[in-house]
């Protein structure tokens, strides 16, 4: 029998706010342990939570971006369980009235080749809710240490329906979700920094049936490849069990990335009873129509919508748009350049070829981030403009770009300083051409005998003599005139 996997993902995303969810303590990644705390973060006796409005707004925006329904009221609940990384031993979360209901994420499957767009499909969401993050435990031989820096950071949980049917779809879903949230400035979604975390619910069923099988929750999928590999392993494990008539137990399993298998953490019977109840320290949140409209004004274009627009309006090829559009910063860079000089193809080419190559070469650990790049978008536009004006050839432009990248100087300045401007003085050029004609009787004779390509040899000589600065089109015209 053939089996079909059914997958649902629970994705936790850290919001990019300056301060924590329920207090003004700051948050940023990589600070000294326990320096980003205050009495509220540490759950000191008598402290009370106060909502971070910005975090609520970002969550609403995530919901609007993904087509969720935003109910008029949402509320806060306490999720009670003991763990040393959680100062209050309860987490303020949302149980039955989340900020966002429903919604969907558009995903793209792999196409038949790199150059061809794959099939698109919308994956259904159950909900998005907002909660506070916990701290971090580090274990040593005989003791464990707790860092509460991350504790209390705003975290959204995006829960999908069981609407994904392969590890590749799960991968595509995560990628698409990340692109959307980064584009909206809601999160950096860097999995390495724990800004995006993923648990998967996996079950299998005989192909062609509709009933869901027993689900197993997989935790510790800490990288995008971990998500793909962990799910693939689990599908294989469950399929094997089915084929051997072994029962699949409802349980939580941990993905062990180094060894490449999942192990059981706890069974359904051992599952926590979180004793959810409404947090009496917080009032429900009322979301007015005005507030919603205001937040909707601030939403970015979804990456796939942008891609379709680029292909349609700018006539850009799929391969280029699939580099530009998923990266919100790169796309913005492109549009900023375009605003200065409207030559989308040429600008996109410089960005996706020359700029990305230089960034990649300059980075110590992966690519240099775009915001550290010295080349301004208007410089790229200017460079294309110089080519179009005939001031430099595209060949020279390829030499100018690395100089722009390393110095941060504008292309005109570099061209001036290095004397790279194409000669437009036809008098001087005519003299040069005449000299070449005088010194090269053989190709001249051949050309005059009707052998057209012989003129190329003369052109090459002129270009060589002018060190490439001459405009080849003008050189061609002069030579033909002089030889006529």
């Amino acid at each position: 029998m053939e089996y079909e996997p059914v997958i649902g993902l629970e994705v936790h995303v850290q919001l990019k706010t300056n301060t924590k969810m329920f207090t003004r303590a700051p948050y940023h990644y990589g600070a000294e342990p326990n320096t980003l705390t205050d009495p509220v973060v540490l759950g000191m006796p008598g402290t009370l939570p106060v909502m971070n409005r910005k975090a609520i707004e970002m969550t609403i925006q995530a919901g609007l971006l993904l087509g969720c329904k935003i109910p008029e009221t949402c509320k806060w609940d306490r999720k009670n369980y003991f763990y040393p990384d959680m100062p209050k031993n309860y987490q303020i979360s949302q149980f039955d009235q989340p900020i966002c209901d429903g919604g969907e994420v558009e995903i793209e499957m792999l196409g038949p080749s790199r150059n061809v767009m794959g099939e698109h499909r919308n994956v259904k969401l159950t909900r998005i809710h907002l909660e506070e993050d916990v701290g971090k435990l580090t274990h040593f031989d005989s003791e464990s240490l707790v860092d509460y820096n991350r504790a209390g950071t705003p975290l959204i949980e995006i829960v999908s329906e069981p609407d994904l049917y392969s590890p590749e779809e799960a991968f595509a879903y995560l990628t698409a979700l990340r692109n959307c949230l980064v584009a909206a400035g809601i999160s950096e979604c860097d999995m390495e920094k724990g800004q995006m975390r993923c648990d998967a619910n996996v079950s299998i069923r005989p192909k062609g049936t509709t009933e869901l099988g027993t689900k197993v929750e997989i935790k510790n999928l800490n990288t995008i490849s971990g998500v793909r590999n962990g799910i693939a392993y689990e599908i294989q494990r469950q399929t094997l069990a089915m084929e051997n008539n072994q029962p699949i137990v409802q349980e939580t399993r941990r993905w062990n990335a180094d060894e490449g298998y999942t192990t059981s953490m706890r069974s359904k019977e051992m599952a926590h009873d979180y004793r959810y109840f409404p947090d009496p320290d917080l009032m429900p949140v009322k979301v007015s129509q005005d507030w919603l409209e205001q937040l909707a004004e601030d939403l970015p274009e979804l990456p796939f919508d942008m891609q379709r627009r680029y292909m349609r309006d700018y006539d850009l090829p799929y391969t280029i748009t699939s580099v530009l559009c998923p990266d919100a910063k790169l796309a913005a860079y492109f549009e900023n350049a375009l605003a200065v000089y409207e030559k989308p193809k040429q600008i996109a080419n410089f960005i996706t070829n020359d700029l990305l190559r230089e960034l990649s070469a300059a980075g110590e650990n992966g690519s240099l981030p775009l915001d550290q790049c010295k080349v301004r978008p208007e410089h790229v536009a200017e460079l294309v403009q110089l080519i179009d004006k005939g001031d430099i050839s595209s060949h020279i432009a390829k030499e100018v770009f690395p100089e722009m990248f390393s110095t941060g100087k504008g292309p005109s300045q570099i061209v001036d300083e290095k004397g790279l401007k194409q000669s437009t003085d036809t008098g001087e050029l005519e003299a040069t051409c005449q000299e070449i004609i005088n010194n090269n009787p053989k190709p001249v004779a051949e050309y005059k005998a009707g052998k057209e390509p012989a003129i190329n040899a003369l052109k090459g000589q002129v270009m060589k003599m002018t060190r490439g600065k001459a405009n080849p089109k003008i050189v061609d015209e002069i030579l033909r005139k002089l030889l006529a």
Partner: protein, 488 residues
């Protein structure tokens, strides 16, 4: 001279300070001397910081000399129940689990108190985590009722009530979750007031049951109570349940509001088994109001009898969650015996919490657990709404309700400790007010034949504390019960 100060009211002391008859330093020294002389019998205080109090008094005298006092309470000492945190001071909630906890921050009520010029002085005893009605569940000591040292002072704010009754401190801050201010005030013959929920910030009040807890004043007279409430109340952005609208200035309103009022008598608060001496005293108080021209109307609060079960579901549910932060990991008592994280939890909490606290954590965890939530917590919330509606309906006809504060006068040590249910009934007349979120105060209305104080409870309308104080004040002016003092 300072002996005369023990039983002065804050209103009187304010005048003495104003006309320079006394200095704030003398006042604080007198409180310290009185406490030293009496507290081995009363045992109200857990900690006193005499040097700091005198320092603050000196600063107050300086302000006064410069004509820059901060308010009517400038220079007047106020003792603090051990669950309102003060920066740099132990805040132990009378619990072993917090035996070493020094707060890194001030409660908003303390900030407000300091800004009024008042002097927070000393931390007073209470039932552990405010769970109890006799102050006997304190890990550290048992506080005695100044009227009879064999008897309890009531609770949970027993230390606050006892220290004001014993002449140790003229004012005190307590907290009231189900009667924890009003019941000890009644049992010790002083004035205790619970404001409308949301009037006083809970930031820095160590939580027992968040949806019920309120900080409130203890004093020797109604006017003092109003002054102290005025000093500590007001919107606080650090407490999301704090009321952001206007609240009345109570002390100012008292002389302006003269009645007569329509007063309701809820028959459910006068059951057949009510202590006869209490019944007589409260009925006499009602007659006194009537004699002064007030209209007395019998009203119904039909869901009264459900208060105890509803309260013990909601309060314990919230407490079970509120108290889970005391886990032995950070600032709390950690068992020496523990070996791993789970062990730290079990042993530290096992050693750190007393019996009553454990009983309530267990009860609260149970009513919230999966499969029981709907039957207990959710249903209790629905009944709570009915109780609130009872009050709203009754107040369509009246300005205030008059009831006994406690069904019995002060009982003896140990009399109810073995029987939690009887202990829980101590709060039968006060609990409903917390569930409804209304304001109420207790003031003295007589003594039993055994020379024990009896309290009259006046229940007011939400955010109309000015009326509540005026109604209580009119009774106080017409009677001398509030001037009665225990002999120590």
């Amino acid at each position: 001279m300072s002996e005369d100060l023990y039983y002065k009211t804050a209103t009187e002391l304010r005048r003495l300070l104003e006309n320079r008859t006394i200095s704030a330093v003398e006042l604080v020294q007198s409180a310290i001397a009185r406490t030293k002389a009496t507290d081995d019998k009363v045992r109200a205080y857990l900690d006193t910081n005499e040097d700091e109090a005198i320092e603050l008094a000196r600063a107050s005298d300086e302000r006064r000399a410069n004509g820059k006092i901060l308010g009517p309470l400038d220079g007047i000492p106020v003792s603090i129940k051990d669950l309102i945190v003060e920066k740099g001071k132990l805040a132990r909630c009378s619990s072993r689990i917090l035996e070493n906890f020094v707060s890194p921050y001030d409660a908003t009520a303390i900030v407000n108190l300091r800004n009024s010029g008042a002097i927070p002085w000393g931390r007073v005893n209470m039932d552990e985590f405010a769970m109890g009605s006799s102050t006997e569940t304190s890990y550290f000591q048992k506080t005695a009722n100044p009227w009879d040292l064999e008897r309890i002072p009531g609770g949970s704010s027993g230390g606050s009530a006892a220290c004001v009754a014993a002449g140790q401190t003229v004012l005190s801050l307590g907290s009231d979750t189900g009667g924890s201010i009003r019941q000890p005030a009644a049992l010790c013959g002083v004035v205790g007031m619970k404001p409308t929920y949301g009037t006083v910030s809970r930031y820095g009040l160590i939580a027992f049951a968040s949806s019920l807890d309120q900080i409130g004043p203890f004093s020797r007279c109604v006017e003092d109570s109003a002054m102290l409430l005025d000093a500590i109340s007001g919107y606080d952005p650090l407490d999301s349940t704090s009321y952001s609208g206007d609240i009345p200035n109570c002390a100012q309103a008292i002389p302006e509001k003269k009645g007569p009022w329509k007063l309701g008598i809820p028959k459910e608060y006068f059951p057949d088994n009510l202590d006869p001496e209490i019944r007589t005293a409260v009925e006499a108080a009602v007659d006194n109001y009537r004699a002064r021209g007030c209209e007395i109307i019998e009203v119904e609060l039909p869901h009264t009898e459900l208060a105890i079960p509803v309260y013990y579901i909601i309060a314990t549910a919230e407490a079970s969650s509120n108290l889970s932060r005391y886990d032995g990991i950070r600032y709390t008592h950690r068992s020496e015996e523990s070996t791993d994280a789970l062990d730290i939890y079990f042993k530290s909490r096992g050693e750190g919490f007393g019996e009553e606290v454990k009983r309530r954590i267990c009860l609260g965890s149970f009513v919230l657990s999966s499969g029981y939530y709907d039957a207990y917590y959710l249903r209790a919330q629905k009944v709570r709404n009915l109780i609130r509606k009872d009050f709203q309906n009754a107040f369509k006809q009246v300005d205030a309700l008059l009831t006994p504060t406690s069904p019995t006068p002060a009982f003896k040590f140990g009399e109810r400790t073995e029987d939690p249910l009887t202990m829980y009934l101590s709060d039968i007349f006060t609990i409903n007010v917390n569930l409804a979120g209304f304001p109420a105060l207790s003031l003295p209305c007589g003594l039993t034949s055994g020379n024990l104080p009896i309290g009259l409870q006046v229940i007011g309308q939400p955010l109309k504390e000015d009326d509540l104080f005026a109604i209580a004040h009119s009774y106080e002016q017409a009677n001398d019960y509030w001037k009665l003092r225990p002999t120590l």
